[in-house]
């Protein structure tokens, strides 16, 4: 349980655009352990998807990746494109967002699964199709529908096909990007249970990228919260949910329907010129003056918990215990307790 299957060290992903350099991910440290499901949450545009794609180096040529992404001892960023292909699909599976765009409209679903076997395992056509059929059955689709085309499936079914593609070669790690986006409540749960079940059964690991806190809460072991391209808090799921330490996590929790449905106020910041100091300070209700100047590092661990906030207890210890911090920290804590989270 304690070995890590994937560890990301000081990853920085930036894109050059006409409006300037967009830094979609910055100083990312993330570890996924063997057999673990890690949730990556955050609002749209915070860089979750970029991180997911960066792991498999699927970003366009304009993206610049710095740092290390180590999969079972191999730094993926040092591999050639050809070596990288052996990891894609075979060792790390990925389910990209929006299955209706990710499935090729002119190829049948079965063929899009079968081609993985043909390409990676060198299987013949017949054999590959048989395996594809088995895979479809595994995700709950009758194998006879293998010759159907993507547009003939419903949204949930397409997502099942994506699961089949992602897990076709029993990869050690599955990256699932918003697997339940756009699905109704029932289907959402079914799909999530299907993916989590299969991953657990294979004793594989998963990075579940989602903006849905409830989903992350019920299917993950640990949660990493991302804001404006940075990880702001990471820890055990239960602890994060019951005791959020970063104000952003708290605000996210408040936006849940059962918790007052209070939206996080303000707009997510631009990644071209992120705010000075703590990136969350313009929207943070606990901010103190120092927040707009000092950019906090990821502080910890407290148990397994890391937090990127000047007001976290670890941070407070580091800073000379100044009065304003204490008061704000106390206010923050009070509010958490008051809301009963």
């Amino acid at each position: 349980m304690s070995y890590s299957i994937l560890s990301i060290e000081d990853l920085k992903v930036s894109f050059k655009t006409s409006k300037g350099t967009v830094t979609a991910n910055e100083s990312i440290y993330l570890e996924i352990k063997e057999g673990e499901i890690l949730g990556l949450i955050g609002e749209t545009g915070c860089g979750k998807t970029t991180l997911g794609k960066a792991i498999l180096r699927l970003l366009s040529g304009k993206a610049k990746l710095e740092g290390k992404i180590v999969y079972r001892g191999t730094d993926l960023l040092t591999l050639t494109e050809k070596e990288m292909r052996l990891f894609r699909g075979k060792k790390i599976g990925i389910m990209l967002q929006n299955p209706s765009a990710c499935l090729n409209p002119v190829l049948s679903a079965g063929r899009q699964i079968a081609e993985i076997y043909r390409y990676h395992e060198g299987m013949g056509k017949k054999e590959a199709e048989k395996k594809a059929g088995e895979m479809l059955e595994l995700v709950g689709i009758s194998s006879s529908r293998g010759c159907d085309y993507p547009h003939q499936f419903s949204g949930g079914m397409m997502q099942r096909v994506m699961v089949a593609i992602g897990l076709a070669l029993r990869p050690g790690l599955l990256v699932a990007d918003e697997p339940t986006k756009g699905l109704d409540q029932d289907t959402k749960l079914q799909i999530a249970e299907l993916i989590a079940g299969l991953v657990r059964k294979e004793n594989a690991s998963m990075l579940l990228i989602t903006h849905d806190l409830e989903l992350a809460g019920s299917f993950t072991d640990r949660i990493a919260v991302m804001y404006a391209g940075e990880i702001v808090e990471i820890g055990k799921t239960a602890e994060i949910i019951s005791n959020p330490k970063h104000p952003y996590t708290l605000d996210l929790l408040h936006s849940l329907p059962g918790k007052g449905l209070r939206m996080v106020s303000g707009q997510p910041p631009s990644l071209v010129s992120p705010p000075s100091g703590c990136r969350y300070h313009p929207r943070c209700s606990f901010r103190v003056e120092a927040c707009s100047v000092a950019h906090p590092g990821l502080m910890g661990p407290e148990g397994e918990r890391f937090t990127r906030c000047l007001l976290s207890e670890k941070g407070r210890k580091k800073e000379t215990a100044a009065q304003p911090f204490l008061t704000a920290q106390a206010a923050f804590r009070c509010r958490c307790e008051g809301e009963g989270i």
């Binding site: 894609r88 990209l96 990676h120």
Partner: protein, 313 residues
């Protein structure tokens, strides 16, 4: 899908009905009395008023125009396009006799254009903004701007008159095909290459290409198995319009190279004021074009599963 085909067929029938109307009214575009015009075409000199009167009655030109049209359409339905005013040959027989030459020229030109355009378009898209891409696209922009009658003359001057490699006119051996097919084919290639490039670039930007890459497929497989099938769909639709371009271009190229096809027949008939032949040619070309567009639409539906199955239920 059958519903889709039926709908397209109905549209094409309406269009063809309209086409017959335009073909029929062709005679009235010419200034002067049709009977006089016909007499002039047939006998080549002025006739007396009484002779024209007899001709008018014989040709049924004394009836009201709409009756004439109905009679003409009646003949059409029996595949009777009338007789040439000049040679008295049967119009349809004459056209069918010229058809193979035009068809062969069209096929040869399409071949030339695809042989040039597909590799150029695909390479340009794969190496977007490279020197090769810019070069190809510039050449194609120049290519679009070269009128095919000038290109034909240039090719004749270079390959026939100066290098003596190919004959400058005539029809028969394979050598005769080279210059006309090059003339028609290259100007087509310019447009096809641009379309292929644009279409492939769009497909390569799609998420399912990234998804295919995420499965570990190599670029070769992605291009040939995933991208091209999608990218060539619009190119195929375009082939239908190309066919129209070929028929139109054939008029000029056939005239330059004295190619015994329908295009030359049409131009000759216009000069001879041979109305029934003009009507026949125009009608034949328009119907051929409409049917070929229909065929392409059906082909598209067969190739694109989205259309193939959507119309199914």
């Amino acid at each position: 899908m059958w519903k889709y085909i039926a709908k397209r067929l109905a549209m094409v029938s309406i269009v063809i009905a309209g086409v017959t109307f335009i073909a029929f009214s062709a005679m009235y575009f010419a200034p002067g009395d049709p009977a006089e015009v016909i007499a002039l075409a047939r006998y080549g000199e002025d006739l007396s008023a009484s002779q024209i009167g007899t001709l008018r009655e014989a040709e049924g030109l004394d009836a009201p125009v709409h009756i004439q049209y109905l009679i003409w359409v009646g003949h059409l339905l029996r595949l009777d396009l009338g007789k040439s005013l000049v040679t008295s040959e049967d119009v349809l027989a004459e056209i069918l006799q010229k058809l193979p030459a035009t068809a062969k020229l069209a096929i040869a030109s399409l071949l030339v254009s695809f042989l040039i355009a597909l590799p150029a378009g695909i390479l340009s898209a794969l190496r977007k903004n490279s020197l090769l891409d810019r070069g190809c696209m510039f050449v194609s922009l120049v290519g679009v701007s070269i009128p095919n009658f000038w290109l034909g003359l240039l090719l004749i001057w270079l390959f026939a008159l100066t290098l003596h490699m190919f004959p400058s006119f005539g029809y028969g051996s394979l050598k005769h095909f080279v210059l006309p097919a090059l003339t028609l084919g290259t100007s087509l290639a310019a447009v096809t290459a641009r379309l292929t490039r644009a279409s492939l670039l769009e497909v390569l930007g799609q998420e399912y290409i990234v998804a295919a890459r995420a499965r570990g497929l190599d670029e070769h497989t992605i291009l040939f198995r995933h991208a091209l099938k999608n990218a060539l769909l619009p190119v195929i639709t375009f082939a239908g319009m190309q066919f129209g371009y070929l028929l139109g271009g054939a008029v000029i190229v056939e005239t330059i190279f004295s190619w015994p096809g329908i295009g030359k027949l049409l131009v000759d008939s216009i000069f001879a004021r041979d109305f029934s032949m003009i009507q026949g040619c125009v009608l034949f070309i328009a119907v051929l074009f409409s049917l070929s567009s229909l065929a392409v639409d059906i082909l598209y539906a067969v190739l694109d599963p989205r259309i193939r199955y959507d119309r199914h239920d």
